[in-house]
Symmetry: C2
Subunit: 598 residues, 2 copies
Amino acid sequence: MPEYKAPIRDMKFVMQELLDCHSRYERLGFEDATPDMVDAILQAGAKIAEQEIAPLNQIGDEQGCKWDKGEVTTPDGFKEAYKLYVEGGWPTLSQKEEWGGQGMPASLHACVSEMLSAANHSFATYPGLSHGAMATLEEHGSQQLKEMILPKLVEGTWTGTMCLTEAHCGTDLGMLRTKAELNDDGSYNLSGSKIFISAGEHDMSENIVHIVIARIPGSPEGTKGISLFAVPKFNIDPGGNVIDRNTVECGSIEHKMGIKGSATCVINFDEAKGYLIGEINRGLNCMFTFMNEARLGVAGEGVAAADASFQGALAYARDRLQMRSLTGVKNPNGPADPIIVHPDVRRMLLTQKSIAEGGRALIYDLTLLVDEKLNGKDPAVLAQADAKLALLTPIAKAFLTEAGLEATSLGVQVYGGHGYISEWGMEQLMRDTKISCLYEGTTGIQALDLLARKVLGSKGALLKSFGEEVTSFIIANATKPQFTVLCTTLGGYFQKLEKITQEIGVKAMNNPDEIGAASVDYLMYAGYVTLGYYWLKMMVTAQKSIDSGTDEGDFYLAKIQTGQFYFDRVLPKAAGHAACIKSGGESMMAINEEHMLF
Amino acid sequence: MPEYKAPIRDMKFVMQELLDCHSRYERLGFEDATPDMVDAILQAGAKIAEQEIAPLNQIGDEQGCKWDKGEVTTPDGFKEAYKLYVEGGWPTLSQKEEWGGQGMPASLHACVSEMLSAANHSFATYPGLSHGAMATLEEHGSQQLKEMILPKLVEGTWTGTMCLTEAHCGTDLGMLRTKAELNDDGSYNLSGSKIFISAGEHDMSENIVHIVIARIPGSPEGTKGISLFAVPKFNIDPGGNVIDRNTVECGSIEHKMGIKGSATCVINFDEAKGYLIGEINRGLNCMFTFMNEARLGVAGEGVAAADASFQGALAYARDRLQMRSLTGVKNPNGPADPIIVHPDVRRMLLTQKSIAEGGRALIYDLTLLVDEKLNGKDPAVLAQADAKLALLTPIAKAFLTEAGLEATSLGVQVYGGHGYISEWGMEQLMRDTKISCLYEGTTGIQALDLLARKVLGSKGALLKSFGEEVTSFIIANATKPQFTVLCTTLGGYFQKLEKITQEIGVKAMNNPDEIGAASVDYLMYAGYVTLGYYWLKMMVTAQKSIDSGTDEGDFYLAKIQTGQFYFDRVLPKAAGHAACIKSGGESMMAINEEHMLF
């Protein structure tokens, strides 16, 4: 099993040096989020992730969760680790002080989340889902509901879930059948069955609050008749105390490809008591707030998986002796050279590394915008944050999870046949991270969101706005001799993105299927280019530190070298996607479905 | 679990219509391999694959193999299915009549192997390894050894293995430690430990013959001192009868990502009695014969996985109702349209389909060349077959397994979250097929074999020879208006391949690391182009049938449409690889390994 070390140095580079988080924190009123405090939090987060949670990763995979008569037992050690997590105050980190939180920035929570996910994807789903439930309640719940529920969720002694999917509807939530009937006391009785509920039932918390979408009888059909409810496993009195068991039951858990330590539950509601969140029939709008944040969280899983797999592969590549370097013996005292001397092994390692570090920069920038949205006052800045989040969230979610999956697959390849053997832990990373390409909206759904809703839906405004940011960065740096070529390259890719966008827009006016035909390749192209922008930003920042004198020259040089690798060997993959888009959708729509197989 | 149907119609299209197998069979002396006989064999193969072997696929994954004190128990039903397989005479299909075989072409065996692998990858490893052992013995074994061993192997009551890898050496076989000491009677005593031995121990056959590489004391170090041996689990008398247990033991089996029904064994030899195969110190040369054939077999696994996943995804896409088509309601009587109406779902399905069918054409062409090699007399034809096999085998192995992995990943995506759940069987296909990118030489090793040994090693001769074949095909068809554009496109890609090759060759003269830096992208580029060639050949063949009148117009039209999709949406991915190659290897070699992680 590869030993996970939280990449604190890189996290601080991105947060503090690249994104200048502290001046933003100051402006947003996070007085306590000082450099010393950020450092202390990252160190403490690393400690629990590395020492308590990472060691349970393989056990979780081997044992999985166990279901027995509605009760779910998590793998050995999960319960105890979660207790430590709560005792350490981690669930409270970025929650409001009003509900018992520490009032730290959401972006700082995202750093810790990345550590948890890299250490143990399965474990991280439990606090992850809680976080989503809290965000939804805080933004849309009534004061009374918040008082009932939030303090215990924030404390972490209760956990939360999000219940959307039903057996016959995943993407198409308008088809949902779970119904909610009004009681005399203003509460609702919910009946129906939800599937794929992560952390839906387990033995780690005293209560579980399900955030559930359902239809109130008489509401419109489709997505316009969906309302949102909080449905606790144990009923709660207005003071927030547990009373008795609600009629919510876990019917079974799924056997899955990976994240076996995460309980994926069928949750049955049988006239279960629930409380309306937000307005009637506005449930899907309330969910979207959560879903955007959750999608960023899943994007972070892609980064975490790439990083964990990179760390495992790097250690092996430096240790494993096999064949000699083509440019001469590098390890004359050994029977062969370590495989890290071989160019193709380096190609795999640096692909992993550049995805992990480039993705980290993208995600942290977006989580700082989430802080802006939650705490900012300046309408112009808020609008900008909104626009950038809207555009880049589906890119981050789908591109980084697909790239993360590829990175874990490369991690297996670096190990050769050993990568396929469970004890090394590399194949588990690949299995675990595949879920991130599926949940919270598949890659295909993210791509449609990006191209149809965000780019074409805004008539290009969102892309234009991001283009202005990229262009002004290019203009500011193109005159530096070291970066002239890279600025030109990046500018070229971005112009091509704009050109591709226009071409699809024209085609789509005649045939809307051209959007779906282009969407995933478009998202991947945009993803490579977006990461190129963040890489060039990092390279410029690193060069500044070198120029101004530093005793960490090796760190900054490696950053620049990795960025160069990204531009040389990862970014050009975008060319293949552009070429596919150019061909349009005709040949994928032409074939009759009856003739697909003979 | 998706229901597997052997693609007999497509197999016959490729073998008979595209590759004209019957006139080749006639020329090579396979009088019995008539169209009727081929048809009967494919039908019977489909029957056992679909009805007996496919139903064990999921059970195999759930139960895995069990090890107890050196004995391995295969999953429920495997033993019985293997008995049926032997009773049906399948192990004998392409073996020589001299040893009890049916004397059918190896290419026909490859069709049946594809069915087995698609039905149940794990199960297929047992006869697959036997086949390799037989081929090695037949080509390099002494008459006496063949008489001892081959009849029972051909019959299938014994099975075989290939024992190469040791814990410290996989790729770098020159480092092996297993030793073989000569006995007075001319046999050898083998001592050492081998790992990753597929089908190394199981309960399906009466004896297991291990083909083992080992070093005879006093032999040169490295690969020049390796000899090859047959080491039976049960000792055998000269008449081929089992005597007593040899000192060969299965020390443990591996827990793996997939192919859990296939026993991956540690095999310990403790002065075990073995028999030399071929000449002393020529073991690796003997192994290469086998390895080339085995690599083709593994390439077939990629095709099989893509096809099985395609079949599962297609069935689901036609059944699952979710969202409405953007071009108007297609299923007005249902609550939503089947997801096959959505362009991106079609993109995924057609990618799978075009990989499976394009890959099938490539592999069957190569297996027909194997028939040529084994049975042909004309030195010019033999040399041509050799050249083409040498060039295209690493491409087929690595490209089709990587593309097969991607196809199975797309199959999971088509199912959305359900794809991640074990009961649907889609995730198992992805886990099972990942091994094909690793064993018999990883993708990286195939890429080095292609670029360093085959292409540059032949000073471009092998590529030139294949280029002539492609060019003459283009010249013959470019004047047909329907194919002019596609011929030009293919010609352009091939010319670019030649140009890239020259550029790498020039760079490599200054720095041999440029070969490894380019190798995998080069192989992928070559793979996309090679499949483009086979697709265009299929399209031309299909058009001929349409032109000459056919009552299977739908089949041929779908073939042409799928080919057009390949040219539009799969082949252009090559552009990304070409762009990566162009950047060279400087940035991957620059970074100091000490600075990869801070």
